[in-house]
């Protein structure tokens, strides 16, 4: 889906960190409705912390975070979730001893409407790898299948924005393709995506725009192609 221009998520001068360590030192960025935006940067630059701060898991010490025009800084994660922000953290985050279908039911935990079974069925149809494994325990799925399951879980609340932290982590090359295809399909269905990814060339090639985070500040910004072609970005963040 093409970006339509309006800012869905907007950060201005966000400062955040843990105890005495300041990780974000004034980050400003905007994600427009319909976009895929990716954040890249060195290890320890604050990429994961940025997603956690938006989601309310790390307090914002200064700055504003607006989602769909409303201030959401320092709200509880459940409230951010209810407003339409989905979040898939880095690494595995499902219920390994529950079946795929039960995991999807857990994804709809906050919903009270009658359409949940229909949405779960639609989700299984959307991701055939999950349909084939619907009764299998999530912990027995391969890493890539679990990554797709975790995105499907987050989608059951119909978020307007889906934040994904390192979708390709630990996946074999074929699975990386399948996971990125799934992200593109989710975006075509109308969900805006903000991702953090170290597989920067791959991520930028599917993103409308990208941001480079450096020591807690945003340093470069541009379309995926601009960043891929920028000599400084190539040298310092894409490995030359």
């Amino acid at each position: 889906m093409a970006a339509d221009g309006g800012a869905l998520l907007e950060l201005r001068g966000v400062v955040a960190g843990y105890d005495e360590i300041e990780v974000l030192r004034g980050v400003s960025l905007a994600v427009r409705t319909g976009e895929i935006v990716c954040i890249i940067g060195a290890n320890g630059a604050g990429k994961s912390t940025l997603l956690r701060t938006v989601f309310g898991m790390v307090p914002a010490r200064a700055g504003t975070i607006r989602f769909a025009g409303e201030e959401i800084a320092n709200r509880l994660p459940t409230e951010v979730l209810k407003r339409g922000v989905g979040y898939v953290p880095q690494g595995r985050c499902n219920f390994p001893a529950m079946s795929v279908e039960e995991n999807l039911e857990m994804g709809a935990y906050l919903r009270r409407d009658a359409a949940v079974p229909r949405d779960i069925a639609a989700s299984l149809e959307r991701f055939p790898v999950l349909a084939a494994k619907r009764r299998d325990l999530a912990g027995t799925l391969s890493g890539g299948q679990q990554q797709i399951l975790e995105m499907a879980i987050a989608l059951l609340l119909h978020p307007r924005l889906l934040m994904v932290d390192e979708p390709s982590l630990g996946l074999d090359p074929r699975m990386v393709e399948i996971v990125f295809d799934a992200l593109l399909a989710i975006n075509r269905d109308g969900t805006t995506i903000l991702m953090v990814e170290q597989n920067a060339k791959k991520a930028l090639s599917v993103s409308h725009r990208g941001f480079v985070l450096e020591l807690g500040r945003n340093r470069f910004e541009g379309t995926g192609r601009e960043l891929l072609e920028n000599a400084d970005v190539r040298l310092h963040y894409l490995g030359g």
Binding site: Y18, D19, I21, I40, G41, A42, N43, G44, S48, T49, Q90, G91, S142, G143, G144, E166, L169, G170, L171, D172, P173, R174, M175, V176, E177, I178, Q198, A200, K201, L235, H236, Y237, L238, G239, G240
Partner: protein, 251 residues
């Protein structure tokens, strides 16, 4: 005689044969990569070699000695070091101390020497700290030397674990996805360092999904699928192997 020789290794978990009669020999000084789809048995093979899980069949020989199902600490003392996919650091120790801990088991620190704080011991300590600082520099963590390892990001902890594996100056290094979650520029530096170790005569067995790394630095690649070895050869041959392309590369 190969430095590491695995003969007919078998490891079963409930309902699955994770490693299915795998033969693999790594010569002294070789740089070999082990690739294959998620779930093909690469990490399980590492676990069997290093004594983390007991093999159900087959043999592991290191320098010709039978090491099958030897306990981890013995494996480590004989000169095999490894890293883990799931990063393992001591969260409350500083980054620097995390490296110093790894050295201890390999030094002959006798109680008397400790009590007397002999000159030799002090020199060992100074050398160890210098070595640890050098490794932190190498992985871009020098500025976080005194920070608690638990405060580092996932990728940084991964780099710290890589440095820790190098502390003991192992003869054989088993690296399990060192490049995952690591920034591409840092991956290039790791690559250079692995090549430098190789030039010094170290033996490296690498599990990695980043094909730029694998194809660039490996002398030989071994491919696993469903626990079985399906191919083995130099990078160019592996890239063209139809079975490998189908099982692993996709399009």
């Amino acid at each position: 005689m190969a430095l590491l020789e695995i003969r007919g290794l078998v490891k079963r978990f409930i309902g699955v044969t994770a490693v299915d009669r795998v033969d693999l020999a790594v010569e002294r000084g070789e740089l070999v990569s082990l690739i294959g789809p998620n779930g093909s048995g690469k990490t399980t093979l590492f676990n069997c070699v290093t004594g983390y899980v007991a093999a159900d069949g087959g043999q592991v020989l290191f320098r010709g000695r039978d090491l099958t199902n030897a306990p981890c600490h013995r494996v480590a003392r004989l000169g095999i070091a490894r890293t883990f996919q799931q990063v393992s650091v001591f969260p409350r120790l500083s980054a620097l101390d995390n490296l110093l801990v790894f050295l201890q088991q390999h030094q002959e620190e006798r109680l008397l020497a400790r009590l007397l704080r002999t000159r030799r011991l002090r020199r060992l300590e100074v050398d160890a700290i210098e070595r640890a600082r050098g490794l932190l520099e190498l992985v871009g963590l020098a500025h976080r030397a005194d920070a608690a390892a638990g405060s580092l990001s996932y990728g940084q902890r991964k780099l710290l674990a890589f440095a820790a594996a190098l502390m003991s100056d192992p003869e054989l290094l088993l690296l399990d996805e060192p490049a995952a979650a690591v920034n591409p520029t840092m991956i290039n530096q790791m690559k250079q360092h692995i090549l430098a170790l190789h030039r010094q005569g170290k033996t490296v067995l690498l599990v990695e999904h980043n094909m730029e790394v694998v194809m660039d630095i490996s002398q030989r690649i071994v491919v696993l699928d469903h626990g079985q070895k399906i191919a083995e050869g130099p990078p160019e041959a592996i890239r063209r192997d139809a079975r490998v392309v189908e099982a692993y590369f996709g399009r």
